[in-house]
Amino acid sequence: MLEAKNLGKNYGSHAALNNLNLTIQPGEIFALLGQNGAGKTTTINLFLGFIEPSTGTASINGISVADNPEETKKHLAYIPETVMLYPNLTGLENLEYFSSLAGFDYSKTELYNYFQLRGFNLRLLNKGSVVIQKVCGKKSALLLLSLKRPGCFFWTNLQADSIQKHRMNSRKYSKIWLQRERQF
């Protein structure tokens, strides 16, 4: 569950986000739509713990992000606008690396199976990460981060049908979706 209470962020005298109140229950999908500068990224960055709120609180499963940034990270996954991986590792090695960082010990076979099951082109996994980034960066990151089994997903500019395709519409997750323009 995601919750924003009177959430606000000021950069100097400029208010990037003003008094946002929001609750997203597990299973709900919430899309943030707006022009540049509307505060979409600021909202997500506040939930991710990348920046500190000026007013109010952002909390994930009842835990305040500003107070426990390391703890709330365990419950969330984030797919940035451009997915960047480690350039000197192959796709599979990147997957191994990031899933291990998240605290999971998947073998290479397990990772292969997981990706195959979700219709991923396995040949790409053994290529350099630059190829993956270009061909299907977000898809790989999405799969990668879902390995973490997070409670909340944040992603940016994702094709609408991707949610269906990648079986991300499970009832367990709260999702925030950030879209610069309508694609529905």
Binding site: Y11, N45, L48, G49, F50, I51, E52, V65, A66, P69, E70, E71, K73, K74, L76, A77, Y78, P80, T82, V83, M84, L85, Y86, P87, N88, L89, E93, E96, Y97, F98, S100, L101, A102, G103, D105, A141, L145, K148
Partner: protein, 463 residues
Amino acid sequence: MIFYNKILRLEVKNFLLGKTVLWGFLSLMAFGLYGFFHGYSVINRQEQILKKIPYVQAEHIQTIVEHGKGKTVGSTAYYPFFYTTNPPSAWAKFSIGQRDVNPFNLKVKMLGIEGQLHDSELTNPLTLLVGNLDASFVFIFLFPLLIIAFTYNTLSEEQESGVWKIVRISSSQTLRVIGRKLFIRLAIILLTSLTVFLAGILCLNLPLSLPTLRLGSVIICYEIFWFALALIVISFGKSSSFNATALVCLWIFLCILFPGTANIVIDNKIPVPEAQQTAIKQREGYHEKWDMPKKPTMEKFYAAYPQYRKYPIPEDKYSSGWYYAMQYAGDAESAESSDDLFKKLEQRQSLSESFGYMNPVIAVQQLVNKIANTDLANHIQYLQSVKRHHKSLREYFYPAIFEETLTENLDWNAYPRYEPAGYNCSSLTSGIVSILLWSAAILLVAVNLFKRNFIHITDKQNA
């Protein structure tokens, strides 16, 4: 544990496959090899010269004795030179230190010593500035650049490319992730320096004994210092270009500006006009004696050598005994300024050591030169041993001079031989401790800055 190793392995692979590592390693190795070659050729040339000295000496004495046949020892003893040598230690090839500026052999005559001792340039005896491109140069000045190249973009590059966002979200132990990345870099830096050092041991044929071990440990401490310095810069969480610029500025300050300034301060604070002054005093002290009554000169000599009072010294004509007593008196009159000179050289040494406490680059140079026996202290020791040797030479010839023995009746091969002082390394503790203290203090601050700038959320990060 296996689990942890997987991340470590991938992290190492990602780092090693970067371009900097290979080029950094290769260029350091190349500079290292040139440094070994340079050190070897400088010291080898000195050793070749020192090797010839015994033959030159024997031949020289023989010629002089041939010519002196039929004359008294007092007349012949004026001519011969007696060679003294300061042979390089086995580690001098690693760090030439001041061996290229200070004389490594001195020939002395029976005459006044003071004028002969400072024939060489002594106006700037503490060359704290960049010296030869020898192995120690590679470790002291070039390795920091490698450390900078390996570390400056450790985190900033990932922030700039965007990987860092995924890393931060994936791991809930950011500090550990940072620690791991830095640990890998430190390990590779130390491995590189170990490789270059081992290559040095092989190329320079360094003995596998305590001083070599000390050299290695001092270098490792010094590299940890630079690593800590790099950490504190990257712990501010600034951009790659900021980090690179800041670190290169630090390098220029610590390696060039600070030692240069320290050198000027030392030169101004403790000037050493005494070398010239001593030589002048000795010459004046001796020359004026020609026109003075012989009695007071002889009294000066008798004060140290009363046993020669029994030999008559004619007041109205030249005698060998008087001539050498006159030389002695010249030395005796300049003794005070000679002592002053040595005292000042020691003051310089200790002042530059206190500069070393402020700047580990200076400290490590002093430590390495101390281990290699190529520092000013070693040269001072050598000069003093030459003085002592000169004394024993004089004392060997005095009896024959006063007895007015004929040249052929003296055993010219039995004069006391100069014995080099041998290897001698004073305590390194204070220098090493100062480097370690700096490193520890910097690391402590860096860890806190990492916590502040990378763990706690701030506006600087990825906003």
